[in-house]
């Protein structure tokens, strides 16, 4: 005689699909190519930044922090921009899709990581340049606020709710949080700031950097962007797997409750 618990165990075992073919988790040929390029590029960037590029006349060696600080800040802008764009398309009924929601969430996580890194490297650069790790300057304060806003966005994503409700809430929160991005960027123009103004992305397109320094900075921007794309694709796919696992767990729990309620 088969007991309900044995039936449940059998149901659980058979509901899991057996893996067939190569189980490569979240990787594809494209992500492998991007990953290899980033993996080769990052050590080259370290060599360029620490050895090949010259020191600055005024700032000395501390200028080398620029090659990790500026790309981190750029990735924060890019990542939160992608989150905002995906949120807009999610809220538009014709393009609504949970894939967009997953891209928005994955991009925000990476954005929070790189905002944190931009803040930390900025503090390490600020100490030898300004004499302090932190000051309540407009650029620094608005960046810290951006970090907190997107931490809140990630917290909203973790609230228990049906996927569509969670996605809609997150999309609205993501758009509200994104308002701070242009404020961060323009803060050095709007308020008197210790932080220097734009050096490369200037309105007159006249980059205030020369030779090896400019090349190293552009190389860093390219390598960091490749790293972002690699992280984004893997994290988005991982979120899909998490959603599938959540659905499977829910189905198993319902099946178990039904089996328990069935008269023996």
């Amino acid at each position: 005689m088969t007991t309900p618990s044995a039936t449940t165990m059998e149901t659980s075992a058979t509901s899991l699909p057996a893996p067939s073919g190569p189980v490569s988790a979240t990787g594809t040929k494209a992500t492998r190519v991007i990953g290899v390029l980033a993996l080769v590029g990052l050590p080259i960037l370290v060599l360029l930044g620490l050895v090949a590029s010259p020191e600055d006349v005024e700032m000395g060696d501390s200028v080398r922090i620029m090659y990790v600080h500026v790309p981190s800040a750029w990735l924060a802008y890019l990542a939160f921009g992608v989150t905002a764009l995906c949120s807009v398309f999610y809220l538009w009924p014709r393009t609504r899709s949970l894939t967009l929601d997953r891209f928005a969430g994955a991009s925000a996580e990476i954005g929070v990581l790189f905002t944190g890194l931009a803040l930390a490297t900025g503090m390490l650069w600020g100490r030898p340049t300004w004499g302090v790790f932190w000051t309540w300057d407009a650029r620094l304060t608005s960046t810290a606020l951006l970090f907190l806003l997107f931490l809140g966005y990630l917290a909203i994503r973790r609230l228990a709710a049906p996927p569509e409700v969670r996605a809609k809430r997150a999309a609205i929160a993501g758009l509200i949080a994104f308002i701070d991005v242009p404020i961060v960027h323009l803060s050095v123009d709007w308020w008197r700031s210790l932080h220097q103004g734009a050096t490369v992305a200037r309105r007159d397109l006249d980059a205030q950097l020369d030779g090896t320094m400019l090349f190293t900075l552009f190389f860093a921007l390219v390598v960091f962007t490749l790293t972002y794309v690699w992280l984004l694709l893997h994290r988005q796919r991982q979120l899909w797997l998490e959603d599938q696992q959540g659905d499977a767990s829910l189905e198993r729990a319902i099946a178990e409750r039904r089996a328990e309620a069935r008269p023996t």
Binding site: S20, L124, L241
Partner: protein, 44 residues
């Protein structure tokens, strides 16, 4: 002075964070993807 005190820690922090985030992603992805058929994944 600033090289060892500030520059090296900045590079270690950034590279270490990227490496740690990527390692966690790969490990967690493998664990989650273990029981999912390759052909069921929308990116394959």
């Amino acid at each position: 002075m600033s090289y060892a005190q500030y520059v090296i820690p900045a590079y270690v922090l950034v590279m270490g964070s990227i490496a740690a985030f990527a390692a966690v992603l790969v490990a967690r992805g493998r664990r989650l993807g273990r029981d999912v058929r390759h052909e069921d994944k929308p990116w394959t």
